[in-house]
């Protein structure tokens, strides 16, 4: 599917998420859906970066590169992660 540059990604509101880091993995209970997600990095980081406001793919990539030392700032890989989160309902495509 064609990805326009203007597509915005919005994370589920923080008050709808219970995030419990366990060990290598993190549990996310999503109150709006009642679904529990067991996730690895970088999912918690992605959700956190999207929390202040919806962002485009490029904006998100820039924010992540600045905050974490991203060695391979690959937009295609990030897009795949975001699509997974959209499927899971934790991120909405606007």
């Amino acid at each position: 599917m064609g990805r326009e540059m203007t597509v915005l990604y919005r994370a589920a509101a923080p008050e709808t998420l219970r995030i419990v880091p366990l060990d290598a993995l993190t549990l996310i209970y999503h109150r709006a859906s009642g679904i529990t997600h067991v996730v690895d990095a970088p999912v918690p980081e992605l959700l956190e970066a999207l929390t202040p406001a919806p962002q485009t793919l490029d904006q998100l990539l820039a924010a992540l590169t600045e905050r974490y030392d991203l060695l391979d700032a690959d937009p295609a890989a990030l897009a795949i992660r975001l699509d997974e989160l959209v499927q899971a309902g934790l991120v909405e495509r606007l």
């Binding site: 599917m1 709006a32 859906s33 009642g34 679904i35 499927q87 899971a88 309902g89 909405e92 495509r93």
Partner: protein, 336 residues
């Protein structure tokens, strides 16, 4: 009083349960579960001075329906996200609509599949968008699929591959084979938007749909619950304009009958003309309340008659014979 009627009596007047024997409680709960009304009953009983055991069961049932409500609303939200780019009206139906709009039948109501109504001309793109968003056909069966597409008022059911939840996409509220053909475009034209962009039917159309579902489309299985929905909606908003709207959709007879049945079973306030039952009404009431103290259905011949009748309503006779034969060969049984 048979256990089905006793459930109706307690839904009308919950305090009548306070004199119940343990056996009457046991039967009441069994019938309520069988009718998918345990949560509804629990909401009606909540707050009364109940025996401890019953209080526990009431609390559990209320907590359980809260989770059901949440999951149903989430399913609607995911359908909204999948369909929003199409810009077509998406109308929630039945239980999910009641929950999304905060209508009174939703208190404790069980909600199964997600039912939505979309314009007939958008059916193809709606189907494609849902499949792109992770919904899949439930076990493809050539006969059922062809049957649905040719004759039914909905797409063959889709199930989401991750969430394991079904969606029924309707383009009208009765099968195309039924002799009654409601004004589907009118239903959508009169629908009302919710805050999130999804729609619900107008109030009179919600009642028309409840009536179509109860009396023109089924074998009355689950009828106590459907009639309770109807009762709550009439109680909240009265009967004005209902018959006119039902007549527009070809469902005036059914609307009148639903008003009579609801008055008889649940004590709904209705105009005087709907307060007298005919012989057929009494048969409907017997069928609606046909449960024993274990929640099992009784009155088998009567149930079979209603099953054949419900198919008669939907299909011309030659087609009915073919359909029942195909179903029979595959081992289908009319009722559980």
């Amino acid at each position: 009083m048979n256990p089905g009627w006793r459930l109706a009596t307690i839904l009308r007047d919950p305090s009548a349960s306070l004199a119940f024997s343990p056996e009457e409680w046991t039967e009441l709960l069994a019938v309520a579960r069988a009718e998918q009304m345990a949560g509804t009953l629990a909401h009606r009983l909540h707050g009364l001075a109940l025996p401890d055991r019953i209080k526990r069961l009431v609390e559990d049932a209320i907590a359980s329906t809260e989770q059901v409500r949440l999951a149903a609303l989430w399913e609607a939200e995911m359908a909204r996200r999948a369909l929003a780019p199409l810009g077509v009206p998406v109308v929630l139906l039945k239980g999910t609509a009641f929950a999304a709009a905060g209508l009174s039948p939703s208190a404790g109501r069980n909600i199964g599949d997600l039912d939505i109504l979309v314009p007939l001309e958008s059916l193809g793109e709606v189907e494609a968008a849902l499949i792109a968003a992770g919904w899949e056909w439930v076990k493809p069966d050539p006969y059922d699929d062809a049957y649905y597409r040719r004759w039914m008022h909905e797409l063959p059911p889709l199930i989401h591959r991750e969430r394991d939840r079904m969606i029924d996409v309707h383009h009208t509220i009765l099968p195309l084979t039924a002799r009654i053909t409601p004004d589907a475009a009118g239903l959508i034209a009169a629908s009302e938007p919710l805050e999130n962009g999804l729609c619900i039917l107008s109030r009179p159309d919600i009642l028309v749909h409840a009536v179509a579902h109860l009396l023109a489309d089924g074998d009355l299985a689950g009828g106590m619950r459907n009639l309770w929905d109807f009762h709550c909606l009439v109680r909240d908003g009265g009967t004005e304009g209902l018959l006119e709207r039902a007549r527009h959709h070809g469902l005036a007879r059914e609307m009148a009958r639903a008003l009579r049945l609801s008055h008889a079973l649940y004590g709904t306030e209705v105009p005087l003309e709907y307060q007298r039952l005919g012989l057929a009404d009494r048969l409907y009431l017997r069928r609606l309340t046909a449960r024993d103290g274990w929640g099992r259905q009784t009155r088998r011949p009567l149930r079979m008659a209603f099953y054949v009748r419900s198919h008669w309503l939907r299909m011309p006779p030659a087609m009915l014979a073919r359909h029942l034969w195909t179903k029979y060969r595959k081992g289908y049984r009319p009722v559980g």
